[in-house]
């Protein structure tokens, strides 16, 4: 990794936003499995494993899977956020391996959110 200049910071920001943003011809869906201490204690690692395994089985390609720190609603962990291009992100709560597999099949691949596992939709920050 090279030592950065101030301009490099701006370049990385633009490149990364392009890579992480859902766009035509790029990734269609982004799934974030939240992994703060609360999430991990509640079983987020197993949820992540199940998700990756199911993704491998299904062969789906245009999906970004990522993680984050604590999402703030610690009492409902494990949590995951599914964002499909041009739609509001959906926050899923109290997940386990079974539920995330179903979410992958029904929401990520078939485009129909699994309402019974979802808490809310939308983004907490404007940008």
């Amino acid at each position: 990794m090279p030592r950065l200049t101030v301009d490099d910071l701006k370049k990385i920001k633009e490149e990364y936003k392009a890579a992480l943003t859902l766009r035509e011809g790029g990734a269609r869906v982004k799934v974030t499995v939240h992994m703060g201490t609360c999430g991990i204690a509640a079983g987020a690692r197993k949820v992540m494993e199940a998700l990756l395994e199911e993704m491998g089985k299904s062969g789906v390609k245009d999906v970004i899977v990522t993680t984050s720190g604590c999402a703030g609603l610690c009492s409902r962990e494990p949590m995951a956020t599914v964002e499909v291009i041009n739609e509001s992100p959906v926050k899923y709560v109290q997940l386990d391996g079974e539920k995330i597999r179903r979410i992958l099949r029904e929401h990520v691949i078939d485009g129909k959110a699994v309402e019974e596992y979802a808490l809310v939709m939308g983004s907490e920050t404007a940008y």
């Binding site: 703060g36 009492s75 041009n86």
Partner: protein
């Protein structure tokens, strides 16, 4: 608040009222009354939800179902299907315009819409182990600006103008602290971050420290971490390595000629080392014990050099203040307590977790709106504000705005930002006792007021909870606690007195009950309670008998059950299991009486 099963918030804002929400309220009240549900369902009129186009608006808690355009004809259907049968009426629920999902939106749910994310602006959005994601969300822009466009004086000026107060507990204005250290004359200054538990992103700590280092003229920083948080340490190590590789830490940062590097200093998980002078001793590899101040660390700190110590949350606010300015920072919060504060909301609430709210928000809004109110079946008794050594705020004072000044007036502290809700299942005397178990254990022992005071108060409270309380104990404890608070060397001894003082102030009747009547009404102090079943209320379902670890409960199906006082260990499992409120908690004296009755009855049966 009564033990309502359901709370319905009807919007009483102008828009909804014009659309008929008051008539809806009346219709709802009548329908609920006619179905015999008045004691279970509470109806409240709220202020404008902001969703005027979809009024009348109705939110059903604790389910958080958002109904829109409710008509009078809809009311009986909602009551029948949702409130009685538990099936929300989808047809009436809020649907997001983009996609037809009958899910509530973030903007409609108080847990989310009452928060203002600043330090936590990247919550749930970036991988804490990838520096590029932090940079993608404006990471290190503030450090770049501070290093290339601002002088130390300018940086300090901005922080001073923002009014940011140290978020570690004491609330010292950060700008002033930095200014004093900047003026100190030394080649070796230090900047230290106390605590590292900000799991959203470790980089924000690094960036805040770079800016602080430039402001005061330090080239070495430490993050003081507890060994009991391995995930945090792991992520911080990765972050520091990544930052160094990018040249954001080390020599000649971003080509500006400014040198600054950070090291982790690991603690042995001692509570007292949160006190800044004890923390310094710990980093110097000495036993963590506080020292008298003055001199303050900003003048004579780590290895006697000028040192700024701030907590992680303070550093997390710095980058945004540099980028957006002091006025932006002051746009939320109050005059004397500007900005936002992170709180940890815990207890038997419907929503618990990590929240960031504007200073000045009322405690009741935090508990009822963000927290979603008490869990079913629990009644709020007190809220401990400030952490394990915070004070208790009783239910009738819940409207207090959460600011440094207002909270202190009531005998609590903002402290570490802990807000712990206590219910009818908590005993305030026992809670105060527990604090002394903790404090006397963690006391470093250096100063007699804390070393001896915490132990004496622990013994006194133990006695009271075990039935050895005496008339006059309360006054003795109060006097002693006030003395210890005034004379202790550090915050440990001082704040450890808050729970006992505030519980005596607001819950004196519980102390009286323990001392005079030998009665713990919450059923916590096992020596001071008797559990019995009230025959008229008991439905004979047997749930308590199954929950009892001593098999002390017997009875025929659908007949009132009995508790065998000879076997009962007062564990309270039956009380917590019973859904009909048929288990009573009486004083200790009741045990002998019931035992007599029990023995006599057994004798007659033979």
């Amino acid at each position: 608040m009564e033990n309502y099963r359901v709370s319905i918030m009807l919007c009483g804002g102008t828009g909804c009222t014009a659309a008929g929400s008051l008539k809806i309220r009346q219709t709802l009240k009548d329908e609920i009354k006619s179905r015999g549900l008045s004691s279970e369902i509470n109806i409240l009129l709220t202020a404008c939800n902001g969703f005027c186009a979809q009024g009348p608006v109705m939110i059903v808690y604790p389910d958080k179902v958002f109904y829109q355009k409710v008509s009078m004809a809809d009311v009986p259907i909602i009551v029948e299907e949702h409130l009685i049968k538990g099936r929300p009426v989808e047809r009436l629920m809020y649907k997001e315009p983009v996609k037809k999902l009958p899910l509530p939106g973030i903007q409609d749910i108080p847990f989310f819409n009452l928060q203002v994310l600043r330090a936590l602006r990247n919550k749930g959005m970036i991988d804490p182990e990838k520096i590029d994601e932090y940079i993608a969300r404006d990471g290190y822009q503030a450090a770049a600006k501070a290093l290339t466009e601002m002088t130390p004086e300018r940086i300090i000026h901005e922080i001073k103008m923002s009014g940011l107060r140290g978020r570690g507990g004491a609330g010292i204005p950060t700008g002033i602290k930095w200014e004093i250290c900047a003026k100190a004359d030394s080649d070796s200054k230090y900047i230290i971050c106390n605590r590292s538990t900000i799991e959203v992103e470790p980089h924000i700590v690094i960036e805040g420290m770079i800016i602080g280092a430039k402001a005061i003229g330090a080239h070495k920083g430490y993050v003081y971490v507890r060994t009991g948080y391995p995930i945090v340490i792991h992520r911080l190590n990765i972050a520091i390595t990544e930052a160094r590789e990018y040249g954001l830490l080390g020599e000649n940062i971003l080509g500006t000629g400014f040198d600054f590097d950070i090291e982790l200093a690991k603690s042995a998980d001692e509570f007292v080392c949160g006190e800044e002078t004890a923390l310094l001793m710990s980093i110097e590899s000495k036993r963590g014990m506080p020292n008298p101040r003055p001199p303050y660390p900003v003048e004579k700190g780590l290895w006697d050099e000028p040192t700024v110590i701030n907590t992680v949350e303070t550093f997390a606010n710095i980058p945004q203040i540099i980028l957006q300015g002091a006025e932006w920072y002051r746009s939320v919060g109050t005059e004397k307590s500007p900005g936002t504060k992170i709180f940890t909301l815990s207890g038997p609430l419907n929503n618990t977790g990590l929240i960031e709210v504007p200073m000045g928000i009322s405690l009741s809004s935090i508990i009822n709106d963000i927290g979603g109110g008490m869990e079913k079946g629990r009644r709020l008794k007190a809220v401990q504000v400030g952490g394990s050594t915070g004070g208790y705020i009783p239910e009738h004072l819940l409207d207090v705005p959460v600011t440094y000044e207002d909270v202190t007036k009531l005998g609590a502290i903002v402290g570490s930002g802990g807000i712990a809700v206590m219910s009818d299942l908590n005993c305030m005397v026992s809670a105060a006792k527990f604090v002394f178990e903790f404090a006397s254990d963690e006391s470093c022992g250096k100063c007699p007021p804390c070393r001896l005071g915490t132990k004496v108060l622990l013994d006194k409270l133990k006695g009271i909870t075990e039935g050895r309380g005496e008339e006059g104990d309360i006054e003795v404890m109060e006097d002693l606690a006030l003395e210890v608070k005034e004379t202790s060397l550090c915050g440990l001894g001082q704040t450890a007195m808050n729970p006992v003082l505030s519980s005596i102030r607001y819950f004196r009747e519980e102390y009286d009950s323990h001392i005079r009547d030998l009665w713990c009404k919450a059923g916590v102090c096992r020596d001071l309670c008797t559990f019995f079943i009230e025959g008229e209320k008991c439905k004979g379902c047997g749930a308590c008998a199954r929950a009892c670890p001593r098999k002390a409960i017997s009875g025929e199906k659908k007949q009132p059950h009995r508790i065998d006082q000879a076997l009962c260990i007062q564990c309270r499992s039956c009380y917590e299991t019973c859904k009909f409120g048929s288990i009573g908690i009486g004083p200790r004296s009741m045990r002998e009486e019931l035992l007599c009755v029990q023995t006599e009855a057994a004798g007659r049966e033979e």
